[in-house]
Symmetry: C2
Subunit: 345 residues, 2 copies
């Protein structure tokens, strides 16, 4: 790897080691990132929950996004998967293919963002790999969490009669991508900034997820789009779902965008990158969830219900008149094929 | 991701799911690769050993290498790291950024190679991510192994007076890269083919590694080049090393290449991609290692000794006349910066 020498020092691999080694502090098995592998002691009575998501410049983030935000988004999309399983996060590993000629300043800002979020979420970097690429910046993170043995939340536990809930607000991720691309000129600057921020920096629900253990019958995170992901959950559970569009929670910025352009509703319901939790509960959990919502300061909203299905995971979104909305399938494929989520990620 | 439609079917993500799902068979926690994450039950009394290595087309393998061999090399370089720690391999996760327009036939051959080696080494794919990239094929594998708690082999255990050993033969990886590039025309075809095969398809020492538990004082795999990697081991151990060039084991093909061009000796000693084990033992282990070598049918050769060091991990390679060889530093940096190995990989 050749690094643009913007501050006089030639050895970028030395720089990377210097920047990343402090992120492994306090975890003996990381061996200071100087060995072939890392060692994780067994914790009897727990399952280790692992996920791995990749991101490519120009596909999952914009090439000129601030490097610290790219690093933080990478951490957050992975932590969101662990939260959805009810797991508490412990450690991560990073594989980074940095473009030939990337500057040392860029690398420093990337490491700063990585450290910021690892510190914030209480996570340690225990290993990984750094290589050079003639192509775009390509990143993969493996995140490890813990959950009581056999207690983790799966996609497959939803049953007819269960209620469908989401955290936070839905649609901000997809609108945020449009905001970043300058496609929401009619919106007030504050709203554009809020949506762009949501796209660049999701908020993984790391406290909510473990709180849903024993409450949720099924859970996943919304990364490919609400309708698409609810379809995944339904297929895994062998059920179907009905969602009322009017119940789906929207941010103030999304509300304003929708007021100016009603056609954005489909984008919000089928676009990706929300990184909210989508979960089901047996009927009657509303009071408990309301308390949990206040306690964690995370909005929790019931948006629909699980019904018996034909095994194809059908999701019907009902409009204000009670009739199903026609949502363009192409939209979901588009976002799905941007791959916000892994097969297990 | 858009896939060249070379056999009439349009859905490459469906194809990938169809190709990869069988690789998760038999591991309940993989959830058929259909959930957000995978679950690994704790095994009391063991450490989980994890490594993550990335590979980029045109950097770590040739873009026109057979896709099954690319998949198998990815598996093998990671298993080599686990073997070096004495760990038995259990599961892997894969993140793959496939170039836009990659053909379905290519994907099938890649999956076939992946399955071949996972089956061969008894490993299960438990999760990962597939995304599209406008750049070169970029792969990252996270490999998980097991070792008795606290017993794993580290780089840091070498002590003055220990002997330095390697498995197999050294230099074939670097010569193999030259062979693949057509830079060894003077060699017989059989030798060229043997070297190229070694570069494309390393043999991780998965049986040898666990057999070294209790025997080796320090261990790592040779991926950045023998001299470079022995330097890493020495730095981690706070020692230095002397190697006798004449003792370093060579394959018949490497011997022939060297006979035609003596300058290749430096390439062999400092080039990468051998994926042999480099380990140290207290003096007196030769008989045990000889038996082990016969039992596993893996050559084991003593190549030098550990001496007291100044903490900088100096490695001296002695020529036939007992004088140190002058090895170009640039060579190692070149190979090191191709990143055959992670900071923990």
């Amino acid at each position: 790897m050749t690094v643009a020498d913007d501050d006089g020092a030639p050895d970028e691999f030395g720089l990377i080691a210097e920047l990343f080694a402090p992120l492994a502090a306090g975890y003996p098995g990381a061996l200071g990132l100087t060995d072939d592998a890392a060692f994780m002691p067994a914790e009897p009575g727990t399952d280790t929950v692992v996920t791995m998501d990749a991101m490519v410049a120009g596909v999952h983030f914009l090439p000129d996004d601030p490097p610290d935000q790219i690093a933080r988004k990478l951490v957050r999309v992975n932590l969101s998967d662990l939260a959805a399983k009810g797991a508490s996060v412990s450690v991560v590993m990073l594989a980074a293919a940095f473009p030939v000629g990337i500057s040392r300043g860029w690398l420093r800002r990337f490491a700063t963002g990585l450290k910021q979020d690892l510190d914030y979420f209480g996570v340690v970097l225990i290993g990984g790999d750094t290589v050079s690429t003639p192509g775009p910046l390509t990143l993969a993170l493996t995140a490890f969490g813990k959950v009581a043995a056999g207690r983790g939340l799966l996609r497959s536990g939803a049953r007819p009669g269960d209620e469908v809930w989401v955290s936070g607000s839905i649609g901000d991720g997809a609108l945020g991508l449009r905001a970043c691309r300058g496609q929401l000129e009619h919106l007030a600057d504050g709203h554009v900034a809020a949506l762009a921020e949501r796209y660049r920096l999701p908020n993984p629900r790391t406290r909510l997820g473990p709180s849903l253990l024993g409450l949720a019958s099924a859970s996943m995170d919304v990364s490919d789009g609400l309708v698409q992901d609810l379809g995944h959950l339904c297929r895994a559970s062998g059920v179907a779902a009905e969602v009322e569009a009017a119940l789906v929670p929207r941010s103030a910025a999304a509300e304003a965008a929708l007021a100016a352009d009603q056609s954005l509703l489909a984008t919000m319901l089928t676009g990706g990158d929300d990184y909210e939790l989508l979960f089901t509960t047996p009927a009657g959990a509303a009071d408990v969830l309301e308390r949990l919502s206040r306690e964690l300061a995370v909005p929790l909203t019931r948006i629909g219900r699980i019904v018996a299905g034909d095994g194809r995971g059908g999701v019907v979104v009902l409009g204000g008149d009670g009739a199903p909305l026609a949502l363009a399938h192409g939209g979901w494929r588009h976002f799905r094929s941007e791959g916000g989520d892994g097969w297990s990620g």
